[in-house]
Symmetry: C2
């Protein structure tokens, strides 16, 4: 290995960026390929969907991050396959980009468990477009309710259903309920937005199953205070543009949001290696692909086990730790040093917010809930935001919302602005 | 007239909002109808198109502005006609909204002078969607050039053509040139963005014809310094996705922006009254529609003459003055007082910026150019921004750009993210 060693990184999420950051100064040329021009701070994406933040506050152009690293080339392109025999990745254009070492950090998308026909009526939340779609639908539902004269149709317009009660589902339901009960009253003349229903549906026995039962129960109580109807042990059996079927009961609801499942990107299929049930590539202990020592898979698209047999969770800190680990492996190889040991995940804690005043944090020994947890959550997220300006901008937006109660990003955009009803 | 007098205002632009603002406390119920949920600060729209500002910094939800005015009802709906005999406006749903007094403030859109087939390849700049479309195309052109290996195709990708050299065209051309020459260099590895061409095409003999020849010549020199090729007396004869034909010469250019003409909304047609060549309704001296004393037309969709026979320009201050005038007329009628005199336009000045450091201002007797003009321009625009938060947010964004040189809103969004080439 020498200066002309070419590392190709596919995916500019948390894992891919950590890897590139940690290889600063290493004797390697890097090509970073992403199908988007921006890194997305996904943990705050739900705040774009719920009008708290603007898109540009949580997304940053990837090539701008590496303007001072001439050895890093950023390409806006979509990878559709890997040719391990010829050591190259294939772009949609058919062009092959050769690599000496390859890292796939291509993430995951939402999964509908075999019901892809639900996607148009129950959008998930993975991209900026998803977030603006959900924002548009939520805002338009209130607008259409203001115009609607049929009480049944109006009730369906004022019923919002979030499917899946992990952190994203809980955060979405909490903010939508707060909008309806605290932000929007006074702006409408024909409807009372406080009459809106927010239904949070969870197939499992309790919300936020990654947290302790105590914290989970606290979160459920806080959601109830905000006016969210929490329905656990409730399986969704159908989603249509008129509503959602939960078991045998149909809930008329014009706005559905899907926060229930994830499906890994097809990295395992590209490499022809084993995948787990969610499509994640099963990798070696150093995160390389079995039989392909020059190919690594990290982040949400990799299936990695912790020592106690539990899977590493699909969260930003896990992806970053994996990126950092692979950077160490690559650097050791380039410098002819012994490989570092196997990847070990260190869980730093779990966080979730409920509305704009409460949160729960599980640091292992220390467990926090309430306003203090909410402040820690906020400071941690501002700290981890990429880009100095984004930090200030988000801090400022939150301070504004905190003091004024007014959301700043309540825009309905995109072509299908108006789905007016008679 | 009494408390139940119902005023319908169509359009939440500068004219419509000024009217509603000035009727605070008047004995009138107001219904404000707009097909968007937001008021748009159009004078800064070009900064959204050129990645300087985020969409939510220049747009504000209309109903939020009137949350403290219970007599004002805001409807998100599109008006498709007026029935003056039955005194009602017709929505797309077919629903009729009755009025006692009607004000049409429905604005204008861009016009292609009989060449509507140019619209898809040369988008204009009137809505937030237009701005994000232009932003996406400009950013994608650089991205695609980075991937392109054919030198001729690469040059076409790196050629940006702005058609029309009024203030919007000049502002767009200036910022695109600054991006190429100052913001983006260092971020690309295969192309030199400083090689990009920005061509500003104007059919008339000089740019910014609303200004004096001296200021216009200064602006042309400043644009040349930024690297803009100014072509005056040059008529565009064709626009395609490969480029633009200027007279007989074809300029290969993959990104075109249309800033050349406006077409009024069809208010005159709805009312069955006379329109001028640009489709603007010719109104009476008090801005009412001829033969329809209860209907007023204001802003970009009204054709109004100044005393010296020149038309009132289609700019924000003119629309606001008209809104204020009609508010006085309506208030006088409601209170049974004598009508105010005819509408008189007071021109407060013309402003245009060239890039991020220079501007020209014509206050009539006082004419300014250069950095001082730029600061006055900036302060004036922040002052007129609606919403306290927007003022601070825009001031902060500009300060950030001024100090760091980094633009904050460089996001490529919307579905057709990738038009990758081989």
């Amino acid at each position: 290995m020498h200066d002309n060693h070419h590392l190709v990184v596919v995916g500019g999420g948390f894992g891919g960026l950590q890897l590139v950051n940690d290889l600063r100064g290493a004797p390697v040329r890097i090509t970073l390929i992403d199908k988007r021009n921006h890194h997305l701070f996904q943990p705050l994406l739900y705040q774009v969907a719920t009008t708290l933040l603007a898109t540009s506050e949580i997304a940053w152009p990837i090539r701008n991050l590496y303007r001072d690293r001439p050895e890093v080339t950023t390409l806006l392109a979509e990878v559709v396959g890997v040719d391990p025999a010829n050591k190259s990745v294939i772009l949609t254009s058919g062009k092959a980009v050769p690599y000496d070492t390859l890292v796939l950090a291509t993430g995951a998308t939402h999964a509908y468990f075999g019901h892809d026909e639900w996607a148009p009526v129950a959008p998930g939340l993975k991209t900026l477009e998803d977030a603006t779609t959900i924002r548009r639908r939520v805002l338009l539902a209130f607008e259409q309710a203001e115009l609607e004269e049929d009480p049944a149709k109006r009730d369906a317009l004022l019923t919002f259903t979030v499917i899946g009660a992990g952190p994203t589902g809980v955060e979405l339901a909490g903010i939508i309920a707060e909008m309806a009960h605290r932000t929007l009253p006074g702006e409408f003349r024909r409807i009372d937005t406080r009459q809106a229903r927010v239904v949070l549906v969870e197939a499992g026995p309790r919300i936020l199953p990654a947290f302790t039962e105590d914290l989970s129960a606290y979160a459920a109580r806080e959601l109830a205070k905000l006016g969210v109807e929490v329905r656990t042990g409730a399986a969704v059996t159908d989603c249509t543009d008129a509503g959602v079927r939960i078991g045998d009961a149909f809930v008329p609801s014009r706005t559905l949001v899907w926060a229930a499942g994830v499906q890994a990107s097809p990295a395992a299929r590209w490499l022809g290696i084993e995948a787990d049930r969610a499509g994640r590539a099963v990798v070696e202990k150093d995160l390389s692909a079995p039989g392909l020592p020059d190919v690594f898979v990290i982040g949400d698209t990799a299936s990695v086990m912790q020592e106690e047999g539990k899977p590493v969770p699909g969260i930003a800190p896990a992806a970053k730790q994996q990126g950092a680990h692979v950077a160490r492996v690559i650097r050791a190889r380039l410098e002819g040093k012994p490989a570092p040991g196997p990847f070990r995940y260190r869980h730093q804690g779990s966080l979730a917010t409920i509305g704009k005043r409460a949160a729960i944090i599980d640091f292992g020994r220390i467990k926090l809930k309430g306003a203090l947890a909410w402040w820690i959550w906020g400071i941690a997220h501002i700290y981890f935001l990429i880009g100095t300006r984004s930090r200030f901008a988000v801090a400022w937006s939150w301070l504004w919302i905190y003091l004024s109660g007014q959301h700043s990003a309540r825009l309905i955009t995109q072509k299908e602005t108006l789905r007016e009803e008679g």
